[in-house]
């Protein structure tokens, strides 16, 4: 379990290649990369987080995923600070013997990171700044697990 909460940029490709290396009992690696999307005039985004709790919350989510699916490895990288459209915000990777477990665990990690990891996004555009609101859809996504 590799959890990184950082303000520095990261290269998803480099992280994926390192993640794919290792014991050869792994047949399936799934990755998710989140990218700052240019939603009509977004100039930048500030991501605030809760140091201390963030690592704890993510570790707990990852621990539960590793318990529920037969994961060999699991990676979460999440940035905070100032980002612009095109920047990679975060990444999740899961490794398992079979594809179903790797896919489901990655979706589980993403659903929980969205609504249960202490990050808050503020978007800056031509009309000022606004905190991104949590959606019912994201909250509902947790019900499937």
């Amino acid at each position: 379990m590799d959890i990184r909460v950082q303000s520095d940029p990261f290269q998803p490709g480099e992280a994926l290649d390192t993640f794919c290396d290792g014991p050869t009992d792994v047949g399936a690696v799934v990755s998710f990369t989140g990218i700052v999307r240019d939603t009509g005039g977004l100039t930048r985004m500030e991501i605030e987080h809760y140091p201390g709790m963030t690592e704890r919350a993510i570790s707990e989510i990852a621990r539960r995923a590793t318990e529920r699916w037969a994961l060999s490895r699991c990676l979460v990288i999440h940035r905070y600070g100032s980002l612009v459209p095109g920047d990679r915000i975060m990444m999740v990777a899961t490794a398992s013997r079979h594809r179903a477990a790797a896919f489901e665990a990655a979706q589980y990690l993403m659903d929980y990171l969205k609504s249960r990891a202490p990050f808050w996004k503020k978007e800056f555009g031509p009309d000022g700044a606004e905190w991104v609101a949590a959606t019912d859809e994201d909250e509902d996504a947790l019900n499937r697990w």
């Binding site: 809760y50 993403m110 990171l113 969205k114 609504s115 905190w131």
Partner: protein, 82 residues
């Protein structure tokens, strides 16, 4: 002494990221009630509790969570990670 932390627009409305408080409150809800009597900034921040989440010692909790032995309470809007 409890360390009280504020994040996102809660932090902006209160104007501080955190403060150390002496309180007699025995639950999070009592702490909120106490803060609201202090200053209109707290009234603005805590006007709608359904729009807020709380963490006690860095674990998500409810507003009826007890404060006995607690060192850190945090208030923030629903999280938007990922």
């Amino acid at each position: 002494m409890i360390d009280v932390m504020y994040f996102a627009w809660v932090r902006e409305r209160i104007g501080e990221p955190h403060e150390a408080l002496e309180t007699e409150a025995t639950t999070v809800a009592e702490l909120v009630a106490e803060l609201k009597t202090r200053d209109p900034r707290y009234e603005a921040a805590f006007a709608d509790l359904s729009a807020l989440r709380v963490a006690v010692d860095q674990e998500l909790a409810n507003f009826d969570a007890p404060l006995k032995g607690v060192r850190e309470v945090a208030f923030f809007p629903p999280m938007t990670g990922g």
